[in-house]
Symmetry: C2
Subunit: 248 residues, 2 copies
Amino acid sequence: MEKQRVRLTVAYDGTNYHGWQLQDNGITIEEELNRCLSGLLGETIRVIGASRTDSGVHALGNVAVFDTESPMPAGKISYALNQRLPEDIRIQKSEAVSPDWHPRHCESRKTYEYRIYRAEFPMPVKRLYSYFTYNALDVGRMREAAAYLEGEHDFKSFCQTGSQAESTVRTIYTLWVEEQGQDLVIRVCGSGFLYNMVRIIAGTLMEVGQGKREPESMQDILKARDRASAGPTAPAHGLTLIRYEFFS
Amino acid sequence: MEKQRVRLTVAYDGTNYHGWQLQDNGITIEEELNRCLSGLLGETIRVIGASRTDSGVHALGNVAVFDTESPMPAGKISYALNQRLPEDIRIQKSEAVSPDWHPRHCESRKTYEYRIYRAEFPMPVKRLYSYFTYNALDVGRMREAAAYLEGEHDFKSFCQTGSQAESTVRTIYTLWVEEQGQDLVIRVCGSGFLYNMVRIIAGTLMEVGQGKREPESMQDILKARDRASAGPTAPAHGLTLIRYEFFS
């Protein structure tokens, strides 16, 4: 039978998962996709993910591909797969792609949002998808700091140590700080992100917002090429992978 | 010791609770408040709730009062109580009220939102706080229907049968249907609501939006004074009690 390569747009609530990537000590998104796809298509399926999100991180549109010998039309797989997946994972789209298309070997643009809920007390219905703080945050200062990070830079200081990335140069197209009522949303769009990069940017911008750092200090942090020069890694549950755009 | 009456503004994620009111077969919000307040204040506390929300319904601002002999300043109770409560219940405010103030014996205005997520497939991060539908909804028709329900009416048709309300006349000050991206929000503000009234209104307006009923049919439904004449009760998890305002 002829093989086809299928691309999935995958949304999930990361609360109950140990991240994307297969591992021994907890259930992962990749594992659930492999299990449900194999059951649906009657063959052993191994997906390849675009972004291996961390434990607790959410996604509206992560991407995965897999090869199958099944004659099921690619566009119908989303409907059938959603019947088998747990309710905190839902395929948003399934489509045929060329047999050599690979989500990590092609130019793409990724958008993440880091959401902060600002109030005196936490709000239960927001607790799973935003980071709560009672600290006052100066949005103007955060925007000023964010502007220093836009463009092509060596983001080594914003990369978790131990990462095996060959190059730590990345391009941030836009880094916006938006107020949505009591929520503050850090929205970043870039060519790619290093390990924990968005969460370290969020943690550093929050320190600027609290007055613990100056907006101009972003320049020194970039120059230092040292994780210790940046702020803390903001908690995972405030982060959501919004969208992938591919240019090939 | 002198008694004081304390009013709490209570927010909760209703997902894991069997509603507000004490019952034998599941944990309730009232039970958790009584347990944690009794532990904090060292005496047996029994709260009186303003709105006994159903299983699965959420709240940003339900209200409860209780009497205590504790000398703890009323305004500090929120902080101390939040340390003991599970993370899906959070006190937003605690304050002293007069000893005869009762949340169900005074004039008030309540605001509820019923949230509908419209898309081809469910979105996991929205699944707990909105009702998913892939049905197209005509917002113009829903707004036209909503307008018939504003004002003072006998809402018996929009009341779950078996309710013991003495009068089924209520006043809806505003009933708005708002689009927020892919969300459709039915926001209703009124003097009070009958059992399941907001969920029956939401279920009926969705049928109008789908073309199963005409907007003008709202008049006949009101006149019928019969639960069977209205649409289905929309699922609980789409409903959130937003706010209470008291006039005394």
